[in-house]
């Protein structure tokens, strides 16, 4: 049965059904509703968890690291500055192979301080070893949390998973959501069991110092697991569909790509806007489609290359930027397309929506306009020329 839910509440509901034993978080807009809801659930004894009210995000991440190290399913959520503050721990959790799940309510980064949505925060921990999922809708955010625990806790995986959902747009938006029941979740996601944990009966040392004789191989093993995930994640999404009857997650999703000559590549809620723009363009006879990045790490390079191999022009839409460089998606997509050699499409990079600047269908149509022109690698869309003139 579908329920009309706020995104944050929907996430809290699904996290509750995943039965984490340790929950720790520090408040930051727009993540707050999620953890407030969880605190209430613990307080009402709807959720049997230790809810640890920490003094910072650095400690929130450290607490879930410790909880997970005792073999207990753990959960945290953050955003923006909070994610940056916990960055050190985020890398550490992945290196220690602890399958924590975290929600990131994607938000801009200071300065200037700005609480609105873009995707610059997650890019700071892009290289940490976490599996990075991006949700397009509230429903997908719900489903990805389930898949996140299922995937991360797989004994052959043992990696943390982050579910990215656009701040405000998804966290504070309302949607009719098909919320899996507790019984369904229990069947899909059994209790977490591991031998890789702190245990007085079998005392392990975790978090060694590894010198140059060992470090390279230990890092390689994380990379190798990510490579294996490129086949595991489609299986995961396939099984999920069989169980719940919905397409959610996977490596990529495509929209109207069958005969497309031009394509957008994007991730997150902006894909909804792009779908609308595509429908408009299609109505005018333009053969255009969308490749949605549902999993950003591991990067689905082959899936992306093969979905774009018959396309002539590609527009990569980034809601973040590596200042002084390019949009991060653009860098990855162009790398993936190298495998197509001379057949590779002309690929342009566009930066949109930083700091919550509205992305409308019109913005996507502006991108489309530029797509058939000269190739660009980092073109900002929607700049107010009058503001730029003022600062000169």
């Amino acid at each position: 049965m579908k329920q009309f839910l706020e995104g944050s509440h929907a996430v809290a509901e699904i996290v509750k059904r995943c039965r984490p034993g340790v929950v720790s978080a520090y408040p930051i807009t727009p993540q707050t509703h999620i953890v407030e809801d969880l605190a209430q659930m613990v307080s009402n004894q709807e959720l049997n968890a230790q809810f640890v009210n920490v003094e910072s995000e650095h400690s929130a991440a450290s607490v879930v690291l410790g909880g997970e190290a005792t073999g207990v399913r753990s959960y945290t959520a953050t955003s923006s500055q909070g994610l940056l503050l916990m960055a050190e721990v985020v890398f550490n959790i992945a290196g220690m192979r602890l399958p924590v799940v975290m929600t990131t309510a994607n938000r801009a980064i200071s300065a200037p301080i700005n609480i609105w949505n873009d995707q610059q925060d997650v890019m700071v921990v892009r290289d940490s070893g976490w599996v990075l999922f991006f949700a397009e809708s509230i429903q997908e955010a719900v489903d990805l949390h389930l898949q996140a625990y299922k995937l991360g806790e797989d004994p052959d995986v043992m990696l943390p998973v982050m579910v990215n959902m656009d701040g405000f747009i998804l966290t504070h938006g309302m949607e009719a959501v098909d919320m899996p029941s507790q019984e369904e979740v229990d069947r899909y996601l059994p209790a977490y069991k591991t031998t890789y944990k702190l245990d007085v009966e079998n005392p392990l040392t975790m978090g060694y110092l590894a010198d140059p004789d060992y470090y390279l191989e230990i890092r390689y093993m994380v990379q190798e697991t990510h490579t294996e995930l490129l086949s595991k994640i489609p299986q995961l999404a396939g099984e999920f569909k069989k169980t719940f009857g919905r397409e959610s997650g996977g490596l990529i999703q495509t929209y109207r790509m069958e005969d497309a000559e031009q394509a957008f590549v994007a991730a997150g809620s902006v894909c909804g806007t792009i779908r609308d723009a595509i429908d408009e363009l299609r109505a005018k006879g333009k053969k255009v489609g969308l490749v949605k990045i549902a999993t950003y790490r591991p990067f689905p390079k082959d899936a992306i290359a093969s979905s774009l191999k018959n396309v002539k022009e590609v527009a990569v839409v980034d809601k973040s930027i590596s200042l002084g460089g390019f949009g991060p998606f653009y860098t990855d997509v162009t790398s993936a397309l190298l495998s197509l050699g001379a057949q590779a499409p002309k690929t342009s990079g566009f930066i949109l929506g930083l700091g919550g600047r509205d992305i409308r269908v019109k913005s996507i149509l502006d991108v489309y306009e530029k797509l058939s022109g000269k190739q660009v690698d980092c073109a900002f869309i929607g700049l107010k020329q009058e503001l730029l003139a003022e600062t000169e």
């Binding site: 400690s59 997970e68 110092l209």
Partner: protein
Amino acid sequence: MTETLFKPGHTACAGCGQAIAARLVIDAAGKNTMIANNTGCLEVFSTKYPESAWCVPWIHSLFENCAAVASGIESGLKYLGKKDTINVIAQGGDGGTADIGLQALSGMLERGHDVLYVCYDNEAYMNTGIQRSGLTPTTSNTTTTPPGSASFGNPRPKKPMPDIAAAHGIPYVATASVGYPQDIQKKVKKALSIKGPKYIQIHVPCPLGWRHESSQTSEVAKLAVETGLYPIFEYENGQLIPRKIASVKPVEEYLKVQGRFKHLLKDAKGLKEIQAVADYNIKKYQLKAQE
């Protein structure tokens, strides 16, 4: 020697006070104990992959977060219903405790986790090459407080960490010294018998950083106590219980056996300043045997 939970064969310097103290702590705590360790000398010399000196569950995450990791472990154990039978210890050096890890420690104390925090105080960042910390004593020569024509060495006194811990209203705080091994073990056992957050700070000479003979670790540690420069006391529910000094020695006796204070010995003003620190400690912590 009875069986230990901290195996020899680690790579600490000869005479390392921290290595001795860490063994005393875990052997007093016993095998039903989990440890979260900050980055620092102890972590580096005890867990170089693939060897580990630890015979109990032990985890190292980062430099400054052992108190938060231990909070998570304690929460995990509570969730599993195992907390009553397992001790949780968070431990780190003076830098990881009093400087970069102070916030995480304060959070852990304030939230009331059932964890014993142990600070191994060797009075500088030793693992990175003897830089000053908030627990480096006045005038000490470290690589970031070198004496020179414009400097006397470290310009500031030690941060009163035990008092800061006690100000959180926690049930048990103590200082100890590797010069008095039985006292360390007695305090660890007492601390672990009390529910809630506990803090023990142990003075651990570092022959490399303090520049004393590696055979003199115990003597140097005792001199710090006997001069009043390292007050040994407990706060049980806020109540001060000092360890009295039978006969107080002048600070010079402690300073002169260490290279880090060498520049002081020619300087009457500097010596006076340090004697004043000792006198203050003796008064504040009521260390004199007969008063």
